[in-house]
């Protein structure tokens, strides 16, 4: 049984946020929801300011507070380490969201909107111009059941009233692919793989670099390791905060 983890090399991250876009396209997350988010942080007073960037996916914690508090077991931890949400069982209580210290949970406050990303197939003009090459608006991988447990866990915006968050792209991992953020980063900030395999990319990275995990003293035991950088402190301020999720 693999033990999946992710490493994030902060010395490589330039804050381009391509990973955020890739995640959004891959998982079809609604407007204002960022399963992958990148903090652009500034510390110090002008002119002695320093910029750092901090990608923040779900940490897929070993002692995940969200898993502990889910009243119906919709949020669960798999043996391979992924923390997933069974959106068929989720009752929308949002307890996982308030329990998570990282803020990675996003609730579907409304039904998928018309004009949601990639709904190009509905548009006559797009169909006409693209001839037969119209991208599917809805990734069919999101409707499949994954894992031995056969639960519906992939993708966003299936319907209102349920919770969603980064799944480490379970629908890609099950096919042997890397998560979308990992595959699309132009400077290879992310590595994803099996901690138990000494030859995996994550094992290599963890051997060669100093590392920390976010909010370690809260006791969540995250599976995301940050390399070659420093944790954010109270001195850091966000720049270019991507606010959202307010709108109708």
């Amino acid at each position: 049984m693999p033990k999946y983890a992710m490493t994030i090399d902060l010395s490589r991250c330039m804050g381009c946020r391509a990973c955020m876009v890739a995640c959004k396209v891959e998982n079809n997350t609604p407007e204002g929801q960022f399963w992958m988010y990148v903090f652009r942080l500034e510390e110090g007073e002008f002119p002695e300011t320093r910029l750092t960037f901090l990608p923040r996916p779900c940490q897929h914690c070993d002692n995940a507070p969200c898993v502990k508090v889910c009243p119906v077991g919709a949020r669960y931890k798999r043996e391979d380490g992924l923390v997933l949400t069974d959106f068929q069982r989720c009752i929308g209580c949002r307890y996982c969201e308030v329990a998570c210290p990282y803020g990675v949970n996003y609730f579907h406050w409304q039904s998928p909107k018309k004009g949601q990303y990639l709904k190009w197939g509905d548009d006559a003009e797009v169909r006409e111009r693209a001839e037969r090459e119209v991208p599917p608006w809805h990734n069919p991988d999101h409707d499949k059941r994954y894992g031995e447990e056969r639960r519906l866990t992939a993708g966003a915006v299936h319907y209102k009233g349920v919770m969603g968050k980064c799944t480490f792209c379970v629908h890609r991992v099950e096919k042997g692919l890397e998560p979308a953020c990992v595959a699309n980063c132009p400077v290879r900030v992310f590595e994803f793989g099996d901690l138990e395999d000494p030859n995996s990319s994550v094992s290599h990275k963890l051997r060669e670099a100093t590392r920390f995990r976010l909010l370690e003293d809260v006791g969540t035991e995250p599976r995301v390791y940050y390399l070659n950088g420093q944790p954010p402190t109270g001195e850091h301020r966000q720049l270019d905060a991507v606010k959202g999720g307010k709108g109708e």
């Binding site: 502990k68 889910c70 989720c90 929308g92 308030v98 996003y106 609730f107 406050w109 409304q110």
Partner: protein, 429 residues
């Protein structure tokens, strides 16, 4: 209704005057508005509320609904505390208010359940999936099972058994509800053996319900208190604080309800007198003092040595955005305690003052529930997100007010169908 209203036995049953009709109509109309608001939410999703994700989206995912879940369940403390005080400590001056206290418990637990359903993104699924999959390891399990199923059911049983004698007495007179009274009485004959049996049963029931009560309110507190990653929530004092504030708000509610019953039902005035209100006032005051003490310790601990976020939250409560709610609640509670002390020290209790205490402590309880839930979500993040904002919409407010009207409506209608003050209870005026 054919039952005449002059004999003391009737205690308001069957008396539908213009005021009763008007009250019923107004309450029902408000309930309908609440239902319409809920239908909007059911159809469009919770986007129609002011709730939003915390973190990047800068909102609060829990707000008015959850605050009132806690408030309503807190008020439900009333019934069993009165029952326990009467049965276990033999405090007979509280006997006349036992039935309305138990009724208040039942009604407020149902309102609490409805508030939970109002908050769920998938309420219908919530009902089935909770019965099917609920995990005891989640603090919500206690709320769902012990509070709703255990405590509510136990209170219904207590209420039913305690009402049998009055049902038997009411069934003696011909009336439209005679069949209902006979059903409730279920063969009660008012023999000495039956009365003794009921004494034993209600004693044991009170003993059994008390741990349920403490567990139920504690697990509700643990829903918040066990959140290690939530500054402002993670505290050993949450569970005890919930239990104490539940007591305060429940007893305060009984005082208000008892005064309303006295006002609307003249026959009740000789049954519920100053000695009853004195006791309600004393217990409310003592629990209120305990709660003020808890608040002081909480604020002191977080302010003196909490992490940066906890200290920031204390600053927000005392001086910042949430200060009006915090201080409003504290002042209301302190005023209530002060009123209690003033009456106690002078040795003269007045019904009006105790009712004022009841209103004040409930205002304090609502304010406190609001500032337990929301500030930690908008301002208590451990990662450098920006601060959030939460403003409830009309939908949320309408649903909550609709629920309160529903509760008032049920109590009002019940009082027309069944004596809300136990018949033959010793007059305490």
């Amino acid at each position: 209704m054919s039952v005449q209203s002059r004999s003391y036995r009737d205690i308001g049953v069957g008396r539908w005057g213009p005021l009763s009709f008007l009250s019923t109509a107004v309450l029902a109309a408000v309930v309908v508005v609440g239902a319409v608001a809920y239908s909007r939410q059911f159809i469009h999703g919770e986007i129609v509320t002011g709730l939003r994700d915390w973190g990047t989206a800068g909102g609060a995912p829990w707000g008015l609904y959850i605050s009132f879940v806690v408030y309503f369940i807190g008020v439900s403390f009333a019934g069993i505390s009165i029952a326990a005080l009467v049965r276990l400590l033999r405090i007979t001056a509280l006997e006349p208010v036992t039935r309305m206290a138990e009724l208040l418990t039942i009604v407020s637990l149902v309102l609490g359940a409805f508030s939970v359903l109002a908050d769920l993104g998938q309420p219908l699924r919530g009902i089935t999936n909770l019965f099917r999959y609920a995990r005891p390891q989640s603090p919500f399990f206690g709320t769902f099972s012990l509070v709703m199923a255990g405590y509510l059911f136990a209170s219904l049983v207590y209420f039913y058994l305690a009402g049998r004698r009055d049902a038997y007495l009411m069934a003696q007179q011909p009336s439209r509800l005679q069949a209902f009274y006979r059903w409730w009485a279920a063969g009660y004959r008012d023999s000495a053996a039956e009365r003794a049996r009921h004494e034993r049963t209600s004693f044991l029931l009170a003993v059994a319900i008390l741990p349920l009560l403490v567990t139920a309110h504690s697990t509700l507190g643990l829903v918040f208190g066990l959140m290690g990653g939530r500054p402002g929530w993670f505290s050993a004092l949450q569970a005890p604080g919930f239990v104490v504030l539940a007591g305060v708000s429940g007893l305060g509610h009984i005082a208000v309800l008892a005064a309303l019953v006295r006002w609307f039902i003249p026959e009740a005035r000789e049954r519920i007198g100053v000695p009853t209100f004195r006791l309600l006032g004393i217990f409310t005051m003592v629990l209120g003092m305990v709660y003020l003490y808890f608040t002081l310790i909480e604020v002191l601990t977080a302010g003196y040595a909490g992490h940066a976020q906890e200290q920031e939250l204390v600053r927000l409560l005392l001086l910042g955005t949430y200060a009006p709610y915090f201080w409003g609640g504290i002042v209301a509670l302190a005023l209530a305690v002060g009123l209690g002390l003033a009456q106690g020290l002078r040795g003269r209790w007045s019904i009006g003052a105790v009712v004022a205490m009841g209103i004040l402590v409930n205002i304090a309880a609502i304010a406190k529930r609001l500032i337990i839930v929301t500030p930690s979500l908008t301002h208590g993040s451990l990662l450098p997100y920006e601060d959030g904002v939460y403003v409830p919409t009309w939908v949320e407010v309408a649903i909550i007010i609709g629920l309160m009207s529903l509760g008032a409506l049920v109590i009002l209608v019940f009082s027309k169908l069944f004596p809300v003050v136990p018949l033959d209870s010793e007059p305490t005026s």
